[in-house]
Amino acid sequence: MFDPDLFISWMAEQRSGSLATLIRDASWASGCERKPVTQWLGRIEALGAVSIDWRTGRWSANACEITDLPGNTQTAVLTGARPVGPDFYRARGAVAVPQGPEESGIPLPTPLWLQYEERSRLHEFAASAGVAAVPCAAGSAARSLGAFVLGDLAAPPARDSTVERFDPAVGRFSPVSLGSSWPVPGLYRFTRFGRQPRYALLHRPGRQAAPGPVRASAPFPEQTWHSVDRRAGIHYVVPPAAFPLRWKADRAGEPCPGSLGRMTVDRRTPLPLAQERAAVLCTGLASLRTAGTEHYDGVPLFIADRIARTLRRRLETA
């Protein structure tokens, strides 16, 4: 019964609101529990329909636009929160592929594309659908990606927090105790009773993280805690060669920067939102998820390379 396109239209009409209320409404509309609904919201956030501030608990719908896909195929995709259902756009020449339920059990909104021969057709469509036509958003997003910078200074985890440290070797968080030793630099997750987990980087200028605890007699007054997004923090602490990003060209032969291919990411090191949006905008489709990986299709080599570079990760091509 759940119609994801209807729900997106409603979000476009609402424009913004409280995340808690949105989760409640989406739970009712989809008949699903909070956890799959939250996963689903994360997916439509990556698709660019909505922007969510998970910390402050607010959301806002993104403007609906039509933008070219990379690859010079004169194919454009509708992005953002569409105010009306797919039939409205199909009547104006767009094509659609309804999406089935995915991992969360909730279907994603229908992607809509427009194929054209002349650019005037693209602009005619944009005008009749009341959307803006923008140049290739995937390319723009990739170009605007920046290298990771440390976030705002943050307080160390509170004493009553449950603290875990990300182990870059295995790609998982493991419990640590901060009471008996000085913490080593790295990505930490700390959870206080009844609250969302928080993530922080412990940064020590000019020194690399050493495995194992440091003796309490060796303080490092210069080390600082910084608040960080979980996914960005993971890439910051993972060595470039660990869990490499992979890109496989669609066609055999020597790829050029514009060659399209499939980028694969280990789910233990998921792309930060900005990088994921750049990858998703290459097709308008959410990543394909398997048990251990996420695949992003139609990604030009130059975008894959840009994503890897901004994350200080190695890109393996095939």
Binding site: E13, Q14, R58, G71, T73, W113, A127, R251, L285, D297
Partner: protein, 669 residues
């Protein structure tokens, strides 16, 4: 000097007389014309009546004129006898004594054994006591109470003599509590309850001025108040729940119905001014919770200036609510101590002494607004103090909620819970009664109510306008779940056993829809998502000169005047089109540069359908063709472009190509 010395000036009587005048103007003034007089007195009413006057409190003022060595009420009784012989323009001079009798009734706690006489006289002996103290005065107060009954009758007679000009009498003998019933019934219903009771009379279809059965009236009011508790005082609601107090209420309700003129009055404070309720509103702003006051408009008050201890709160009507300005009452202080702000037409009040407040989303208030009702399937947040946390935690634990860390609010000493809602009516009712949370009552679902649904146009503050396709569910109360009892737009609606009936997927059309059951109706509206306004086409960037769009799939070649072909360099269709978006296959194009010597563009689709486009006009000048060129032309020489402008030129090219093949090499089939 004897106590029965008449109305001579006497300092002992000064305070008593001040109270007589104050009570007469507040309760029996000319503004009370044709309205039932409810002589409700409690401590807060007395404080309000006393204001800043330097006068003894009511109890002391009355006690000081009583005759503690005989019938204590004799001095007042004597004054009344004197008054009877006069013009009787003003109320009988027994009002302070009767007010003290009502005050004693109001002080009786629910925990005491009902409204029985022992409990009443105990409280009366606390209100009225000789200056020298002691405990011996209760007995004469009780044994001579018949005198007070006589004064109630005196007041009743005087009101009737006035023919409604000073209010309609609600003083009536109570068959169960013959003596103390006069005071006790006045302590149950206050003037501010009157508007709600009039709404009740109207909703029940009762006829003004007609007698009714008190028992039936009370039963109907109990049921009605469960759904419509707004405007009913906490004391009256308690009395409705108490079977012991039924005998007090029944005759009073009958009297009020008899005196009703059929109108629906506004809520009034006991001062006679219209009552406006100030409610706390929390807004979940980007930077955290913010708090403010909210006041819904009442008819007859467009603006007023309400005085409160910190200054003047200005009201100005703005649609359904008042725009508030001036000096805002401090929220924390008002919640702790209560607040009354008085204006010329209206009073605003905030009930103090609460440790837990429940707030529900209120589009009119634009945030989470205070309510005193809890029901199922509605989201709520709770504001609570440290001492309210225990009862609240019990309530949440008993209703299956996990206690989540509360958030700070800008009200010192208060915190707010995350949003939560209740799903089980019986569990909620039981948990609420066990929890110790006061000033919040369970609101059982007794009528059709809309749940969930996706509301649209929130800025219109319309609570029943939903998006088409996201229709609300309807909760049907247990007694209406039988077959055929509920209809949707006149058609019977099948109701599941839990009562929550889904309206989605029924193909409802835009517009109004009506749910009806048990003589009541609930409507809602559906609206499709509005189509976005059409914009003006932007000026597209010009097509790059010397380029042409060619399909990604199929065979695409340029043909020259010499009959040679040039293949167009094109990217392949993306692989993901095949795997994830087959609908895109065959529709992609690419813009390629036209070779300088190309005359024709020939595109043969994957299905073998050729399309020929003239790029520039040039007569054929074929030389000998390569084998590959002949193979290509062999698929085109029979392609006739009849009806297009360049058909003749294309024919000349076909003829030129044919000349390259041996005679008889092609046969039209």
């Amino acid at each position: 000097m004897s106590e029965g010395s008449g109305n001579r000036p006497d300092s002992r009587w000064a305070a008593y007389e001040w109270w007589q005048a104050r009570l007469a103007s507040a309760f029996f003034g000319e503004h009370r014309r044709d309205t039932p007089v409810l002589f409700f007195i409690n401590d807060s009413e007395l404080r309000e009546l006393q204001g800043g006057a330097e006068v003894q409190d009511l109890g002391t003022a009355v006690s000081s004129v009583l005759a503690w060595h005989g019938n204590p009420y004799d001095p007042v009784s004597h004054r009344c006898r004197t008054w009877r012989r006069g013009k009787r323009e003003d109320p009988p001079p027994c009002l302070p004594l009767l007010a003290a009798a009502v005050l004693a009734a109001a002080k009786m706690q629910r925990t005491e054994a009902g409204p029985g006489a022992p409990a009443y006289y105990a409280r009366l002996a606390e209100v009225l006591r000789p200056a020298w103290g002691g405990e011996q005065h209760r007995k004469p107060l009780e044994s001579n109470y018949e005198t007070v009954v006589g004064q109630w009758i005196c007041l009743d007679e005087w009101l009737r003599e006035q023919d409604g000009a000073r209010g309609l009498s609600t003083v009536k003998e109570n068959p169960t509590y013959r003596k103390i019933g006069y005071a006790q019934s006045q302590a149950l219903v206050r003037a501010s309850d009157h508007a709600a009771l009039q709404r009740f009379f109207r909703s029940e279809g009762l006829s003004p001025g007609r007698s009714a059965d008190g028992g039936r009236l009370l039963k109907a009011l109990r049921m009605w108040s469960a759904v419509n508790p707004e405007g009913l005082s906490q004391r009256l609601r308690q009395a409705l729940d108490s079977h012991a107090e039924s005998p007090l209420l029944q005759p009073l309700l009958v009297t009020l119905l008899e005196g009703w003129d059929g109108s629906a009055a506004q809520g009034r404070a006991d001062s006679g001014r219209l009552r406006i309720r100030l409610r706390v509103v929390l807004e979940d702003e980007f930077t955290g919770w913010e708090t403010r006051w909210h006041a819904e408009a009442v008819a007859g008050v467009d603006r007023d200036s309400l005085q409160h201890p910190a200054g003047a709160l200005e009201l100005e009507l703005a649609d359904q609510v008042y725009r508030l300005s001036g000096v805002m009452p401090d929220v924390a202080r008002a919640l702790q101590h209560g607040l009354t702000a008085r204006g010329t037409k209206a009073d605003a009040c905030v009930e103090g002494g609460r440790d837990v407040l429940v707030l529900r989303e209120d589009p009119v208030a634009g945030g989470w607004a205070e309510t005193d009702k809890l029901t199922v399937f509605e989201p709520y947040v709770f504001l609570f103090t440290r001492s309210g946390q225990g009862p609240l935690q019990r309530l949440l634990a008993d209703t299956g909620h996990q206690w989540r860390r509360p958030e700070s609010v800008p009200i010192p000493g208060w915190q707010v819970t995350p949003e939560l809602r209740f799903d089980d009516e019986q569990v909620l009712a039981a948990a609420l009664s066990r929890s110790g949370v006061r000033s919040v009552r369970h609101h059982p679902v007794r009528r059709l109510s809309l749940r969930n649904g996706l509301l649209v146009k929130r800025e219109w503050r319309h609570r029943s306008l939903f998006m088409l396709g996201a229709e609300p569910d309807v909760m049907v109360p247990e007694e209406l779940r039988g077959p055929g009892l509920v209809t949707l737009d006149g058609q019977p609606l099948e109701v599941p056993s839990d009562g929550l009936t889904v309206l989605r997927g029924r193909g409802l059309t835009p517009g109004r829809h009506v749910l009806a059951a048990g003589g009541t109706a609930t409507d809602f509206y559906l609206e499709p998502a509005p189509e976005p306004p059409e914009g003006a086409p932007a000026e597209p960037p010009g097509t790059p000169p010397g380029t042409v769009a060619v399909p990604l799939d199929g065979d695409v070649r340029f043909l020259t005047a010499r009959g040679h072909f040039l293949t167009a360099g094109r990217p392949p269709e993306p692989v993901w089109w095949t795997e994830r978006a087959p609908v895109l296959r065959g529709g992609g194009t690419v813009r390629v540069t036209v070779p300088p010597d190309a005359v024709w563009l020939v595109a043969i689709s994957g299905a073998g359908v050729p399309a020929v486009t003239l790029l520039r006009t040039q007569a054929p000048a074929f030389e000998s063709l390569s084998r590959a060129a002949k193979d290509f032309w062999s698929g085109l020489v029979l392609l006739d472009l009849a009806g297009v402008p360049h058909a003749s030129l294309w024919k000349r090219y076909r003829e030129a190509a044919l000349s390259q093949f041996p005679r008889g090499g092609f046969t039209r089939v």
